[in-house]
């Protein structure tokens, strides 16, 4: 047989480097051919190729070869796709779970670090999920929610950033309805419908809206009684909510009944609506008819003017299946026509879908609930950062401990586990850990919930963080996702191990320092912790700075009391009887706390007009609040209505010259010529978000809403009680509302305070998680290097040497981390936290460095403690076993 075989072989001298079958076809064949037949078939093809080459030449042989390979593409040759059998799966899954629990139990410290770190950060994640889920459920109850759009205004004034308003002129709604197309229905809503409704002895304080008749068609606020189409048609009609109807009448079936309004107006109840759902950005306890408002303002041309864009909202219902383009075109047409009549400023209109109102972008004059999208985004991003940090821990510790699992991987591979199966196994393990963490996270979440809600007044008002059934599902999916993410890298590393390496001896694997991912991850954790600490420090300083800022007047010991419709003089007379009250004044609002009122003012001489911020005050106000008069006097009791007191900015803008020169000049405001009788030093009327703008004090007593008491008392509680008694004598209905000016300012900056608290909490979490991770790494490093350390110790190294040996790597990481964290945080603080503030702290090396230093110290303590522990034991214990 041997000889026969030999005879068949062509006698050829083969230079395999040059001559041979076409490479690509060869490779392709190898790719698809079943392993079982490959050798035989490939050999045959090869042999035939050389026979052909001899007979027909290389080119022909190659083409035949290619052809042959193509013809090999048949089921009997192609690799069988290996399908996992279903039967095996459950058994393997059981085994994986069992092994996972065993390995969790065997490495208690590492498992604890992983579970605790993940649980804490997942609690934050759960908060974010619940928060988002709740926000997204806002305004979804409207049947036409996807077709409702709101008209929003952008006001352009020279030398100012464009102002974004949720309001528009009532003219928009009117003109749309009468002249334009692009929508099915449109409603105009007037925002401030506040006052007292009376029926017999019952009084209800109404915080409502005034709307045109389409209100109940467009929005889904069902009426219990009354006709939704007709209810808001006629003047002097009103729709009550269930609650307010019950409070007034003691029943809800009250259509046709009459209630008394302020100034003796008689209003007919034309409907009773269900209370608006909590998750609605539009809230009311009564809706009046817009025709009433039109009737009352029939002699007031400015009501329907294009410039009156501060109080009314326009919502439009789009036709089914149509976009916003036609409506937007109509709006553009209106603003083009109307802007032509404006001098010095212009207004553009845009559209905002119902879903993007809450949470949405920051707009002035919001109708109700407001939640800045930026706030939402930053909460989500911060949660993600903390989560990432905890995932890094898992990844790091698991990769570091590859060594300990190597034998298991080796045995599994030898028995026949494929890489995919090992990947699956270790991912399952990570998922089990993350589910375990979810369990604890849920409890931590319940603890964090009230804290989170208490952090921000705004959040507390709109969010309850109640758990819906779907939220639990999100939680579960979230845990799965976290497990996947955390387990991905370790399982990749573990399943990559080669059997030959593992079985040769474990020494080659663990020491292999190729896993630089680990260093990178620790570096990122360092960076995050530092960034948080620095951010908290900066925000805290800014907060203190803002509260201590010299506003240009004295707010100390001033108690502001809300008039709530009561007569100013009666209250002043009554309060002034108390000896603790040294000074009393009245004003229309509380400056420096956020609210601002504005009017156009025209300087007669200069023929120039400007937007002027204003405040109505009583003559005593300037003195009471310690304003500095640069020239002139305060108002006189009798002539307050025609006089104004201006600030330095106004002086400058109208180019009136020196303060004394301005006295006696005339500025036309609200259609009336007014004399300048005084000039005050600039003070902060708005918050520190705004620079000081032109401003006037007006003196119309009808506009007063607040009285300011200068309190000099050693027993504030008793004084407050006395004040409240006085209040009750005068007003038995409304609760006494008094707040010290300084506290009110603090409230106004609560956003800063709450972001400080949130950042602080996250900083704490981020640091603890990364330190847990570091602790894990330190334990691991000392464990694996214990012999080396002991030998060094025996040879005379002291503790400091050893600690520096172990922390050397970390110090480098730390330096890199601070190089990233410091500038990034600095930038983020400038751009995000104080981007709108015009008055910002000076940021020095101390603020930036201190955060980094704190992290470094904690890190060194962590590593040091482990090293100490390791080197304090008797060397014999570590050296006697090999």
């Amino acid at each position: 047989m041997e000889s026969g075989t030999q005879n068949c072989l062509p006698k050829l001298v083969i230079d395999p480097s040059n001559i041979g079958p076409p490479r690509r076809a060869e490779r392709f064949f190898k790719y698809f051919c079943d392993q079982e037949y490959f050798e035989e078939l490939q050999g045959d093809l090869e042999e035939k190729f050389f026979i052909n080459m001899k007979r027909l030449g290389q080119r022909k042989a190659k083409s035949i070869y290619r052809n042959e390979v193509l013809k090999m593409l048949r089921p009997s040759v192609i690799k069988k796709v290996k399908t996992q059998t279903q039967l095996n799966n459950t058994a393997m899954f059981k085994n994986y779970t069992l092994i996972a629990f065993r390995s969790i139990a065997r490495n208690k410290l590492f498992s604890a670090i992983n579970v605790v770190g993940l649980a804490i950060s997942m609690a934050v994640g759960l908060l974010a999920i619940t928060f988002l889920a709740e926000l997204n459920s806002y305004d979804t109850f409207h049947i036409n929610a996807d077709r409702i759009y709101r008209v929003i205004n952008t006001a352009y004034e020279p030398n100012q950033d464009p102002g974004l308003y949720a309001t528009t002129s009532p003219l928009t709604g009117k003109r749309l309805k009468e002249e334009f197309a692009g929508f099915e229905k449109v409603v105009t809503i007037y925002r401030n419908f506040n006052g007292d409704a009376k029926k017999g002895d019952n009084t209800v304080s109404i915080r409502g809206l005034v709307a045109t008749e389409e209100f109940f068609d467009i929005f889904t606020f069902p009426l219990i009684y009354g006709d939704p189409a007709q209810a808001l048609k006629n003047p002097m009609s009103l729709v009550l909510t269930e609650t307010s109807a019950l409070a007034l009448f003691g029943k809800t079936d009250v259509v046709g009944k009459i209630i008394e309004w302020d100034r003796g107006l008689q209003i007919t109840v034309t409907g009773v609506a269900q209370n608006p759902p909590r998750k609605s950005h539009i809230q009311f306890n009564a809706v009046g008819s817009f025709s009433t408002l039109e009737l009352m303002n029939r002699n007031n041309p400015s009501f329907m003017s294009w410039e009156n864009m501060w109080n009314s909202h326009v919502y439009a219902l789009l036709p089914k299946g149509e976009g916003i383009a036609p409506l937007q075109a109509s709006l553009d047409k209106i603003s083009e026509e109307e802007n032509a009549k404006l001098k010095n400023w212009s207004i553009e209109m845009g559209l905002q879908s119902m879903s993007s109102v809450f949470p949405g972008k920051k707009l002035y004059n919001e109708i109700g609930a407001r939640m800045d999208m930026k706030t939402v985004n930053s909460i989500v991003i911060l949660a993600l950062i903390v989560l990432a940090s905890a995932c890094f821990n898992y990844t790091n510790l698991s990769i570091a401990r590859t060594l300990k699992r190597a034998k298991e991987v080796g045995v599994r591979k030898v028995i026949g586990a494929r890489r995919a199966q090992l990947l699956f196994q270790f991912i399952i393990e990570a998922i089990i850990i993350s589910l375990l963490a979810l369990f604890f996270a849920f409890f931590i979440f319940q603890l964090l919930k009230p804290e989170f809600l208490a952090m921000d007044r705004n959040i507390q008002r709109y969010i309850t963080l109640d758990l819906a059934l779907s939220t639990y599902l999100y939680f579960f999916l979230f845990a799965l996702a976290i497990g996947l993410i955390a387990g991905f890298l370790p399982s990749l590393a573990l399943s990559k191990l080669r059997v030959s390496n593992i079985l040769k001896g474990v020494s080659g694997i663990g020491a292999n320092n190729k896993f630089n991912v680990r260093k990178l991850l620790i570096g990122i954790q360092f960076t995050l912790s530092m960034a948080f600490v620095i951010m908290v420090t900066l925000t805290y300083k800014q907060y203190k700075y803002v509260l201590g800022y010299d506003l240009g007047f004295t707010s100390e010991n001033v108690l502001n009391i809300n008039l709530q419709g009561n007569d100013v003089q009666t209250l002043i007379n009554s309060f002034s009887q108390l000896p603790e009250i040294s000074e009393i004044s009245a004003a229309s609002a509380v400056p420096s706390t956020g609210g601002m009122w504005m009017d156009r003012g025209k300087y007669i001489e200069g023929n120039d007009s400007l937007s002027l911020y204003n405040l109505h005050i009583s003559p005593e106000y300037l003195d009471n609040l310690g304003h500095t008069l640069l020239a002139g006097t305060t108002f006189s009791e009798t002539q307050g209505r025609n006089q104004i007191i201006i600030n330095e900015q106004l002086l400058k803008r109208f180019q009136m010259g020196e303060p004394f020169d301005a006295l006696g000049k005339t500025i036309r405001i609200q259609g009336k010529a007014r004399n300048v009788i005084g000039v005050v030093k600039d003070f902060h009327y708005g918050m520190l978000d705004n620079v000081i703008e032109p401003f006037v004090f007006l003196g119309d007593p009808n506009e007063f809403n607040m009285i300011n008491l200068k309190v000099a008392s050693t027993d504030i509680v008793a004084t407050m009680q006395k004040l409240e008694e006085k209040w009750i004598e005068i007003d038995g209905i409304h609760p006494f509302q008094a707040i010290f000016y300084d506290d009110r300012i603090e409230q106004a900056y609560s956003k800063l305070a709450s972001s400080m608290k949130i950042l602080g909490l996250l900083a704490l979490i981020a640091i603890s998680i990364s330190m847990l991770g570091l602790l894990g790494m330190a334990v691991y490093t000392t464990e694996t290097r214990i012999k080396e350390l002991t030998i060094r110790k025996v040879l005379g190294a002291n503790g400091t040497n050893l600690i520096s040996l172990l922390s050397k790597n970390f110090i480098l990481l730390f330096l890199a981390a601070s190089a990233v964290a410091i500038p990034v945080t600095f930038y983020a603080f400038k751009e995000m936290v104080v981007s709108q503030m015009k008055y910002v702290i000076d940021i020095g090396a101390l603020e930036l460095g201190s955060g980094a230093l704190i992290v470094l110290i904690i890190a060194l303590l962590t590593i040091g403690s482990q090293t100490r522990k390791a080197i304090r034991t008797n060397p014999v214990n570590h050296l006697r076993n090999e």
Partner: protein, 112 residues
Amino acid sequence: MKRINLGEFEEIALLTVLVLGDNAYGVSIKTEINMDGKRSISRGALHTALSRLEDKGFLTSTQGDSIKSRKGMPRRYYQVTNKGKLALQEVREMRDALWQRIPSVRMELNYV
């Protein structure tokens, strides 16, 4: 009568293996069929037939030594099993019986 599951091409392959004796492996079988059968089959098609014959138990195969000219890939030599031989005989007998029952007159070619 038990039906013999043997296709036409399979029969030819089996017979070729018998012709080649000890030297029946991929290339030689293919060359033989291509030469005698005056047909051009691909190695892939042959593989399908051979592996099916093995599945049916008509063929066995043994792996030869690795051969340098084939980059060390060994040849696989095929032998017809007794079952295969029986099957071939049966098919042949069945055909012969049919042949004998045809009167020679009918076999004459008709030209119109």
